[in-house]
Structures are given as C-alpha cells and as structure tokens.
C-alpha cells in the first residue's frame, strides 16, 4: 500500500473526517432517535403522529436526497449552519443529515426496547416492595439496555458505511480522498484498494464488537 505513504495527508484527513462524521452522526442519531421514540410512546396523539410521520418519511427516502436538501436546498434559503466557511457548512450539513436519517432507525429500536418490557414485571417488582427508582434500576433499564444495544451497534456500523455518501456533497472523507488520488495518478486499483482496506479497518472491528455484545447479551438472557 505504497500509495498511502505517497499521499498521507489526503488519506489521513479522509480517515479523520470519516471518523468525525461517524462519531458526530452517531451521537446526533442517538439524541434524535431518543426524542422521536419518546414522541412515539407519548400519550399525546399529535406528538405520536409527528413521531410516526418522521420515522416513515426518513425510512422511505434516500439519504442522498436529505444531504442535497440540507446542503443545497437550505443553502438557497441562505442557511449556512452558522458558519461562513463553505467546507464547514458542507461538513455540518453532512453530519446533520447522518443524524436525522439514522435517528429514524434508532427511534424504532428504542421504542421497541421501551415497549418490550411486560407490564407484569413492573407490577411484580413494585409488589415485591421495590421503589420506583429500584424498579427502574434493577428491572426496567437492564432489559431495555439488553434489547437495544446490539441493534444500535448495527445501526452504527451502517452509519460508518453511509458516511461515504458525504463525498457526493463535497466532504473530503475517505471515498473523496480516493477519488482525488485516482484523478491525480490514474492508479485506481491502488487508490480504491487503500480506501477499501481503511474502511475494513473501521467496520470489521466494529462488527466483531457488535457480534460479541450480541452473544454476551444472549447468554445473560
């Protein structure tokens, strides 16, 4: 992989931007997903409808459309994500797009975790004399955690792979780095091969981790 040494700046910035996008996107998706999940289980009908509409809209439209909308569509309105730097705007648009899109999937998982606990268990815990906090701490949260963490890990892996879409609006992440190197050197096999390996370095440990978590939670269940 000599090409990595020839263009270390491009590949390293690319890797760093991919990692940044993945982390920011994941945090954002968790926040968005939790809020939408709470909307979906709330007793107020309009909030519930809003939650359903959000999830269905984002799950049935491509991420690329959202990225273009956030960058060009909002750009036409003069909205630049509170920065004057163009690359900053693009990066923030991409991160927001990742968070909004994957948030819809996160919301479904968290909702499943919240609704998955049998009411009888909570009643049983309370009748055994556990306080509300104790019930939450020893009965509800461990089970919700067990039901949601492995699927959330899977969404995280999907998110890492989907950061490659940010290259289409001009974020110089890994795939864009490969494009640049390829157009400078015409050594497409090496450029894309290097990026392929870097993606594997990111996703394979992540999926091994998720598999390990899954097995651990299954045994504990």
């Amino acid at each position: 992989m000599g090409i990595l040494g020839e263009f270390p700046d491009l590949f390293l910035t690319g890797l760093w931007l991919t990692v940044q996008l993945s982390i920011l996107g994941s945090i954002g998706a968790l926040v968005v997903g939790t809020v939408i999940a709470l909307f979906r289980v709330s007793p107020i009908p309009p909030l519930r409808w809003l939650g359903v509409a959000y999830v269905e809209f984002f799950r049935n439209t491509p991420l690329l459309v959202h990225l273009f909308f956030l960058w060009l569509g909002l750009g036409a309105l003069g909205f630049r994500f509170w920065t004057t730097d163009t690359f900053g705007t693009i990066f923030r648009a991409a991160a927001v797009g990742m968070a909004l899109y994957h948030g819809a999937y996160v919301a479904e998982v968290i909702r499943g975790g919240l609704l998955g606990i049998d009411k009888g268990q909570i009643e049983a815990a309370r009748s055994l004399g556990l306080s509300f906090v104790q019930t939450l701490r020893y009965v509800q949260l461990p089970q919700t955690f067990r039901a949601t963490v492995p699927p959330l890990g899977n969404i995280g892996i999907a998110l890492i792979k989907n950061t490659s879409l940010a290259s289409t609006i001009g974020v110089a992440e890994l795939l864009q780095a490969a494009d640049i190197v390829e157009s400078r050197t015409f050594r497409s096999d090496e450029a894309y091969g290097a990026v392929l390996l870097l993606y594997l370095v990111l996703t394979i440990p992540a999926s091994l981790g998720v598999n390990w978590l899954e097995r651990k939670m299954l045994i504990a269940r």
């Binding site: 049935n60 491509p62 569509g73 036409a76 999907a158 490659s164 289409t168 490969a178 497409s188 999926s207």
Partner: protein
C-alpha cells in the same frame, strides 16, 4: 384570501423560495422528464434485485455447504462486501468496469466494448445486495427445523432435490417480507448511481435545479416521489407478515439494520 394565497404571501418573499418556478412541477414536459428518471430508477432496482437474488442464492448455499473450499470463499465474499460502503463498489465498477469486462464481452460486442453506465450501476448495487440477500436466505434456511433436511434425505432425495422441493420453497416463503424490504432499500440505493452519471430521479432533479436554481423545491419533489413508492412497498411487506420463528426474525432484523440502512 384562500389559505393557499396566504401561504404564498407569507413564504414567497423569503429569498431562496422561488414561487415563480412552482408551475414547473405540474408542467407536463417536466413531469415527463421526472418520469424518465423514475423509469430509470425502477429499471435499475429491478435489474439489481433479480441479479442479486440469483447470486445471493448461490452464496447462501455456498456458505451452508459442507465442503470447505466452497464455504470459505463464500464467507469471505459475504463478510467483506457487507463491511464496505455501496458507493465505493459503484464508483470502483464505474472506473474499472470496462477494463474488467472488455476481455469477456469483446467476442460478442466487438473490441470497443464499453460497459454502459447503467450496467456499471447495476453491478455495483448487485455486488452489495447479493451479499445481503445471501445472509437473509441463509437465515431463512437455518430457521427451518433440522428434521426437514433429515426427512428429505431419509426419503432418498438427493441434495439438489431436497433443496429444490423441500427446503427452498419453505425458506423463501418465510423470507418474502424481508425480500420486499430489500427491494425498498435497493430503490433508495439507486440514488447513489446518480454519482456516476446515470440519469435516474436524483440526476434529473439536478438537471432541473441547475436550470431553474430551485434546489429546495426540486429535492422536496424528488423526496416525495421516493417516499410514495417506498412507503407503498414497505406497507405491503408489513401486510405480508408471515409467522417466522422468533430467532429468524431477530437475525433478519439484525441484517436489516446493518445492511439495509442506506
């Protein structure tokens, strides 16, 4: 003043919202233009799904094979492809497709054979989707009780016969909702093919907004088109909910979350 007038009066002053281009989206020529994009999108997804179903079936059976020299290459293929972004595969096939396929295709199409962009896109999508479908089919086969295979071989059916007449008909029936879900994902994934220059929905949208400078309206419009199709499909697949063993459902949900989100 009608509610519509009130909305336009409030909104149209905002810079960036071009109310003078709204008539475009009911203009027959423009609708036809988007219709051509939609046709390309649907053709891409149908071609990709058919190709990847055939390939996915082979890789699923390969991964379940008892022969190590078939099993390990299948596992390697499936796991590597599932760890990569689709866009990387599409872009790479766009650049290298002609070099790879010219030696194979030149006897049929002549020495100057170029891999059409459409097929570069289909192959890129299929490479990825076949690995995902292979995992879904494998989950379906593994969800069947072992007794089915054993009974089939006890009745004297060969491997091919038991697969053809006993295992696959049952496994595929379990998989129908998951496969329809996959079709939805493939339709969304075809949006990535716009990056290599196939004129599907998004690319058509980009042509329109570079002409009329109205990206906001165009992408809303395109999003609605995608939504209508994908929503109808996903609702239909939800209706088809077939009783599958819980373990298979959990496994498929995992595959869907990791690989269908795109």
């Amino acid at each position: 003043m009608s509610p519509f007038d009130a909305i336009s009066a409030a909104v149209c002053g905002t810079p960036g919202i071009r109310c003078d281009t709204w008539h475009l989206f009911v203009d027959p020529t423009i609708i036809r233009f988007f219709g051509e994009g939609l046709r390309e999108t649907l053709m891409l997804s149908v071609a990709a799904v058919l190709l990847s179903f055939a390939a996915g079936m082979l890789f699923a059976l390969g991964r379940l094979s008892t022969r190590a020299w078939i099993r390990w290459p299948s596992i390697l293929y499936i796991e590597t492809i599932r760890a990569l972004p689709v866009l990387l595969l599409i872009v790479y096939l766009h650049i290298k497709g002609t070099t790879i396929f010219r030696p194979i295709m030149s006897p049929f199409f002549g020495e100057d054979f170029d891999l059409p962009l459409f097929w570069a896109g289909v192959l890129g999508l299929s490479l990825y989707t076949s690995a995902v479908l292979a995992e879904i089919i494998r989950a379906g086969i593994q969800a069947l009780p072992r007794g089915q295979t054993e009974a089939a071989s006890a009745l004297g059916l060969s491997y091919v016969q038991s697969m053809r007449f006993v295992i696959l008909p049952q496994a595929l029936r379990l998989m129908v909702p998951a496969m329809m879900g996959q079709l939805t994902t493939v339709i969304k994934d075809t949006s990535l093919v716009s990056t290599i220059g196939v004129f599907e929905l998004i690319r058509q949208g980009r042509v329109i907004y570079t002409q009329y400078f109205n990206p906001l309206e165009v992408f809303l419009y395109v999003a609605v088109i995608y939504f209508v199709i994908c929503f109808a499909l996903s609702q239909a697949s939800r209706r088809l909910e077939i009783r599958a063993p819980l373990e298979a459902k959990v496994k498929i949900q995992e595959i869907q979350l990791r690989d269908q989100v795109a």
